[in-house]
Symmetry: C2
Subunit: 323 residues, 2 copies
């Protein structure tokens, strides 16, 4: 069955699990004009989430990233103390509970029974595939992964990953819905550990840790290589387009020139080592000389302000220069 998803209309959306990720999703859906109903198992999380959301929405306003007043946007978000109330008449449910198979299995048992048959259910799971916790649901065909990047109201990518039993029409409908609320969905065609985003991140991280471990460069210098080098183009075009433009005749030309180098890099990493406790200690030690543990939260706030400034820049550059 194809879920009856909103698109142009403005039906209520349920956000289940109200940590950082769930709170971020609530902003995405409310910003697009939907009524948002939040539920979390924890009363203290429920009590705190609106203050967190309000702060983020005010920050968005300060970077000119929303048109209406923060109050107008916030008025569409409500916190409910029962799962039943939150999913009542929901057109779509975004689940962002704690990422263990146990926690996911428990909530999907309840969602299976309570969510209107017409609504699709997407999970924010960043690594556990939907097949690990939806198999026994009687409505499992309307369940899939909709994995965001944090915070989703600043980083629009959403990975849609169906379980083997997810209805293709559900994927299409959630894809259209995510586009309609301003996100950028991609289709991962079948389940794979880490999906696409974390596999790409993991590949780069594994090389970064190995280079650090072998003493080729400090963590700070490896960070610089990305932050003032490799990462600049990747903030507006992907790796395939980047190399397509980096050889005179395009990507095939590039692959013939540089394929052998990258194959040699891959071959040199054929015996991967897990990040050892000793190696982790070394990386941690270097990071703590650059940023004390007590300053982590302050730096996270800086990161989010930089992401806001970047989001504003990207919107302007897409208009002025093209996308």
């Amino acid at each position: 069955m194809a879920p009856d998803l909103p698109g142009g209309s403005r039906q209520p959306i349920a956000v289940i699990g109200a940590g950082l990720v769930g709170a971020g999703w609530a902003i995405v859906f409310a910003r697009a004009g939907h009524a948002v109903r939040i539920y979390d198992d924890s009363a203290s999380v429920r009590d705190g989430v609106m203050a967190l959301i309000a702060q983020n929405v005010r920050d968005l306003k300060s970077f000119d990233l929303i048109d209406e007043s923060p109050e107008a946007l916030l008025s569409r978000i409500a916190v409910h103390s029962t799962l039943e109330a939150a999913v009542l008449n929901a057109a779509y449910v975004q689940e962002s509970v704690f990422e263990t198979v146990e926690a996911k299995t428990k909530i999907y048992g309840a969602l299976d029974r309570l969510v209107p048959a017409t609504a699709a259910i997407g999970s924010s799971s960043s690594g556990i595939p939907a097949s690990a916790f939806t198999e026994r649901c009687t409505t499992r065909q309307r369940m899939l992964i909709a994995h965001p990047v944090n915070p989703p109201y600043l980083v629009p990518l959403v990975e849609l990953v169906p379980a083997p039993w997810t209805d293709a029409k559900t994927v299409d409908a959630v894809f259209a819905f995510m586009k309609a609320v301003g996100q950028e969905p991609i289709r991962v065609r079948r389940e794979v550990e880490g999906f696409v985003l974390n596999r790409l991140q993991g590949a780069l991280l594994n090389e970064a840790w190995a280079l650090f471990d072998e003493g080729y460069a400090s963590a700070e210098d490896i960070d610089k290589t990305v932050a003032v080098g490799l990462g600049l183009r990747w903030s507006f075009m992907g790796p395939f387009e980047t190399i397509d433009l980096n050889a005179p005749a395009g990507v095939a030309d590039y692959a013939r020139r540089l394929g052998p180098l990258y194959y040699a890099v891959a071959q040199s990493r054929c015996s991967p080592k897990a990040w050892s406790a000793k190696l982790i200690d070394k990386v941690e030690a270097e990071r703590r000389t650059k940023l004390s543990a007590s300053a982590l939260n302050q730096r996270r706030a800086w990161r989010d302000r930089r992401l806001m400034a970047l989001a504003a820049h990207k919107a302007k550059a897409a208009k002025d220069v093209g996308s």
Copy 2:
């Protein structure tokens, strides 16, 4: 011997090899106030390079990335028809000739004889280590890799990679010089195939090609995963800082939570395959449906304008939000 490098003073800098990379370096040094002397073996390259540089400098001005007039900056750049004239009294030489061991060996033989004993010589080589073409030079201790990202006047990273015989004081002096002209040098402590930047890029590319090959996602969707997801944070902070901020207690906390996932990703790629001709054809075919071969140059111009807009944004964000 430690080279007598400029820093505050404004001694002439020689740029040897005047393709895209050499032309970009000339802008970097001239923008910092140095007289720049360009030489290229090819008369047609020598004849065309000033027009290319002038266009780029005008573009920089249009994005408010230089304070003075384009003409004032350009007046410090001269093209010479002999290598001798270009390196006369040079305080530093940046070599960017064609990237083959043969071409590099030939030019280093000449530079060895002609460049003032006080000047260091950096190579723009993106993959060939300095030991492959400087071994027989009598002044090899002042030669090293200074690998930029293209174009260097917009992407500040420079990888400094010494050969086994490079004097540590040469590395220090070139590091200080690169900082003084506004670049962001990093120290790669010893030679490694691909250095740091292309190893990190290669690791991500290898995973991207494998995911495409196995049918998990289209090249377009893999590109989106980076361009509207993973790449956003990486445009202002590196992979270590990113994960340091992505777990409550910092990088060690993150590594303990997600290390096993990334180790599994690495293990799943233990038998790397070279990018086959058939696979290259498939990627090329998808890219050409998105961008025709005849539109590549236009898209490269778009990329450079986006990089300029991003450079202007990064300078502003560093001032307004912090870096």
